[in-house]
């Protein structure tokens, strides 16, 4: 009788511990899924560029910050923004805030986003910024990028690269001439001037990352 009771208690304990462990695991995965919020410190990475060198944020010793853009070859929205991404690099690289483009798609799911195709696209368009391949798809989940194009503006601080803005490039994907608010430009200008960024996050339709 006593033995049964001990067994019963042990079973309850095992179930309790297991449930706790499972709950903990789920909670953990959830916070990973969410990615960064404004104010978080962004992780550095070492990813292969279209010129076959490896690129990390720490390579840019003089940089004041970064415009990290998850983008790709195949997404119609990413294509609509290609020229504007080039304009951002032209405008802000000299001010110490270069564009770092990252293709997060798995070429097995999106053959048009293979490393070879990235090289072709970068050469065709004459990209002036690194166009990196998120091989193994480790970086985009850490940032919490969900679509292309998806922008993360980082400011280099003593304690790391702080996320200052997350969202869209501007408020009109269709027509650059009809843009009313240049979200990224306004955010970088404010960051460089030491002013409050507003808005700090924006939303846009994009292609889901595959």
């Amino acid at each position: 009788m006593k033995r049964t009771r001990i067994l019963g208690w042990s079973a309850i304990l095992v179930i309790f511990v297991a449930a706790f462990a499972m709950g903990f695991k789920v909670a953990n995965e959830h916070s990973l899924d969410k990615g960064y919020e404004v104010g978080d410190m962004a992780t550095d990475f070492s990813l292969k560029n279209v010129d076959d060198t490896m690129v990390s944020l720490s390579d840019f010793e003089e940089a004041k910050g970064f415009i990290v853009i998850f983008t790709c070859n195949t997404c119609p929205y990413a294509q609509a923004y290609e020229d504007r991404i080039m304009d951002l690099d032209a405008k802000y690289k000299s001010q110490g805030v270069p564009v770092i483009a990252i293709n997060p798609n798995d070429p097995a799911a999106k053959p048009g986003d293979s490393f070879a195709k990235m090289k072709e696209r970068a050469a065709e368009k004459g990209f002036t910024f690194p166009y990196l391949f998120d091989e193994g798809q480790k970086v985009y989940p850490a940032y919490g990028a969900t679509r292309t194009p998806h922008v993360f503006i980082l400011e280099k601080t003593a304690s790391g690269n702080e996320v200052k803005y997350i969202g869209a490039i501007d408020d009109n994907y269709q027509d650059a001439s009809q843009v009313e608010e240049k979200f990224v430009e306004n955010a970088v200008d404010a960051m460089l001037a030491g002013k409050e960024i507003n808005p700090k996050t924006t939303k846009a339709i994009g292609c889901g990352i595959k």
């Binding site: 048009g112 969900t146 869209a168 269709q174 939303k203 339709i205 994009g206 595959k210």
Partner: protein, 181 residues
């Protein structure tokens, strides 16, 4: 009895063949998008900006609305399309209305959207939402929406739920049955 088995088999094989076809076609990637707008004057579907579209999200007529945001270039959207079509056909008597809201770009309306709807013989209502001010209207559909598609809003008088995800038929059916008793 034997006939029944044969019929079930035929349906199953048919469904598999159809599925294979779908996924092959969805593999077609968009390699280049012209920024030129083709003449869209005679596009077959109603074109809304968000202001004129918004009433579709707040109808109070007793029906349950399944509002699916999609585009022809969005592979997971195309994959789940048959489930929405099936729900639309099966749930008519439960007063369920499926509205497929295309976010295709204007230069794709004639070249991709119309041929897709015609070739697949889509029966659900198709409308076009053409409003580039996405940061303004995405939160008005749902505060939870980050902007990814596929995304689906199910609502009726009593209840509304937003899903930024794709569905299997079973998942969609289950979600819908929280709205229809």
């Amino acid at each position: 009895m034997n006939r029944l088995i044969v019929l079930v088999l035929v349906i199953l094989v048919g469904a598999c063949a159809e599925k294979k076809k779908e996924s092959q076609e969805a593999d077609g990637e968009v390699n280049e998008v012209s920024t030129e707008k083709t003449a869209n004057a005679d596009v077959k579907f109603p074109v809304y900006d968000f202001e004129s579209f918004e009433p579709l999200l707040h109808k109070d007529d007793g029906a349950t609305y399944v509002i699916n945001f999609w585009a022809t270039w969005c592979k997971p959207c195309i994959e789940e399309m048959p489930h929405f079509e099936r729900i639309n056909a099966e749930q008519k008597e439960n007063n369920v209305k499926v509205i497929l809201v295309s976010l295709d770009m204007p230069n794709m309306w004639k070249s991709r959207l119309e041929p897709y709807v015609e070739n697949k013989d889509i029966q659900s209502e198709v409308v076009i939402l053409d409003d580039p001010k996405q940061n303004d209207w995405i939160p008005k559909v749902s505060e939870e929406w980050g902007g990814g598609i596929p995304a689906t809003l199910i609502y009726n008088k009593e209840k509304r739920t937003f899903y930024e995800r794709g569905f299997t038929y079973e998942e969609l059916n289950e979600a819908l049955h929280q709205f229809i008793k």
